[in-house]
């Protein structure tokens, strides 16, 4: 069992999604995260072990490399892609409740802003860390976000903006969330966003990269 989970973990770390993935060259033609996940489940490995001992450690290692400057966003995305390829086999177990996620992360691009590449990347990496992601899309008003917060009690919220003109809409959204759900963790990000702005509007955390968001979410859950 540990061998297949180890290989699964290595595939996620290396960004090897499936047998036809061309990278890394040394694994060309070999099974990727997609096939290994199916094999593990067919061999009777519990879906929780597949997630917690196979997939999540692989993402954690690429995250550590990112933190050390030994890997960059493209490699994180390759790993997230491999993780996603494997996760589709776990979806029935998430749906049945047999496998628990770490938490729910509601994310969106704020009102007035249509840039979603940063938000999409954060969503993939957060999902790869074991969270359920509820992606509300772009140009989101406070009402839509509040609806999602009410539907997913205890969720964390990630707000993204690329423009200084739309970044200011974060303040209103944070205020609205705080008024009705004061304990909700709110993360903010995007090119013009700074730590100072995050503090000024009363959000919990600013991260310039997806890995920072994952580390914060994990530490917040551990502290809860």
């Amino acid at each position: 069992m540990s061998d297949i989970l180890q290989r699964l973990s290595e595939c996620v770390e290396a960004g090897k999604a499936n047998a036809s993935s061309p990278f890394p060259a040394e694994l060309k033609g070999q099974p990727g995260a997609d096939e290994l996940c199916q094999q593990a489940l067919a061999a009777g490995v519990s879906p929780t072990d597949v997630l917690e001992r196979g997939l999540v450690p692989g993402m954690a290692r690429i995250g550590e490399k990112f933190n050390c400057g030994d890997a960059f966003v493209p490699e994180m995305l390759l790993s997230a892609r491999a993780m996603t390829a494997a996760m589709k086999h776990l979806r029935p177990y998430f749906a049945s409740g047999e496998v628990k996620r770490r938490g729910v992360f509601v994310c969106c691009t704020v009102q007035g802003d249509l840039h979603d590449i940063g938000k999409n990347i954060v969503a993939m990496v957060v999902e790869g860390a074991g969270f359920e992601v509820v992606d509300l899309g772009v140009d989101c008003r406070a009402e839509k976000i509040l609806e999602a917060v009410e539907k997913h009690p205890g969720c964390a919220v990630g707000l993204s903006a690329l423009l200084t003109t739309t970044m200011v809409n974060m303040e209103h959204i944070v205020r609205e969330i705080r008024a009705r759900h004061p304990q909700t963790l709110i993360l903010v990000g995007g090119a013009p966003v700074t730590r100072e702005f995050c503090e000024k509007i009363g959000a919990n955390h600013y991260s310039p990269d997806p890995q920072g968001a994952v580390l914060y979410l994990k530490s917040a859950i551990a502290a809860a």
């Binding site: 061309p22 990278f23 493209p74 802003d113 590449i117 999409n120 200084t164 090119a191 013009p192």
Partner: protein, 242 residues
């Protein structure tokens, strides 16, 4: 590249269409803006960058240019630029850089919608890796295309005994991005097929806009990131001493 400035609505308008070849960035620059030190990008990244840079199958519709305004006034105290009756609140830094300009060239340059659509499609189809790299390539292409426009403006200004400054854009160097609304009043409607949203978002997204100062004492410097407080910016990543 084609086209020379032509009079339109009382303004001299320059409109260039560029081939991808005129704006193709070096692969190493793409790797640099993705975060990698020279030669350090993994094979997966290098090969994907090369494939995207080799691709010219209708992906690009690069055009740029703008309007020459021979007379413009910079108010250093008020941090404003007044052009043809339009007042732009450009902030202290840009006002200082344009202080010796007698006129301005208001520019716009776009890589077109193709690369943005490709990036979005790749992401939607489950390939965020290539989608992300395509997005970075689009940013560099529009920057390189604008370099060509800037060069042409410099040559045209030089023929009239004037020099050019660096280029400055809303959203950078303390010039608020909402000022796009005023800037667009100085360009022909629908110029280069670019539209501006209420929140000052340009579509296509891979578009740049701004002003270049013109004057006998104007100066174009090779490096200006030190003037800007935007820390997470691809242009900064391309500067070795930034």
């Amino acid at each position: 590249m084609s086209s020379e400035p032509v009079p339109a609505d009382g303004r001299e308008i320059l409109h260039l269409r560029l081939a991808f070849e005129d704006a193709r960035p070096p692969a190493e620059n793409v790797c640099t803006v993705l975060g990698y030190a020279p030669g350090a990008a993994p094979a997966s990244v290098r090969e994907t960058v090369s494939a995207l840079l080799a691709c010219d199958d209708g992906l690009w519709s690069i055009e740029g240019g703008g309007a020459f305004y021979p007379a413009a006034a910079v108010d250093l105290a008020e941090r404003r630029l007044v052009v043809d009756g339009v007042t732009l609140d450009i902030g202290r830094t840009v006002a200082g850089q344009l202080a010796r300009s007698e006129g301005v060239f208001v520019f716009l340059c776009t890589a077109g919608p193709g690369i943005e659509e490709r990036s979005r499609r790749l992401m939607a189809e489950g390939d965020p890796f290539t989608g992300f790299i395509a997005d970075a390539v689009g940013s560099l292409v529009v920057g390189a295309a604008m370099d060509r426009v800037h060069d042409r403006v410099e040559a045209l200004a030089g023929a009239c005994g004037r020099r050019v400054t660096n280029r400055y854009s809303p959203g950078y160097c303390g010039w608020h991005v909402r000022e796009q609304q005023q800037l667009f009043r100085l360009l022909p409607a629908g110029f280069c097929g670019v539209s501006l949203s209420e929140s000052s978002l340009m579509k296509p997204i891979k578009t740049v806009s701004g002003v270049i100062g013109l004057g006998r004492d104007a100066r174009r410097n090779p490096y200006t990131c030190r003037l800007c407080d935007l820390e997470d910016c691809l242009y900064r990543r391309l500067q070795p001493t930034a």
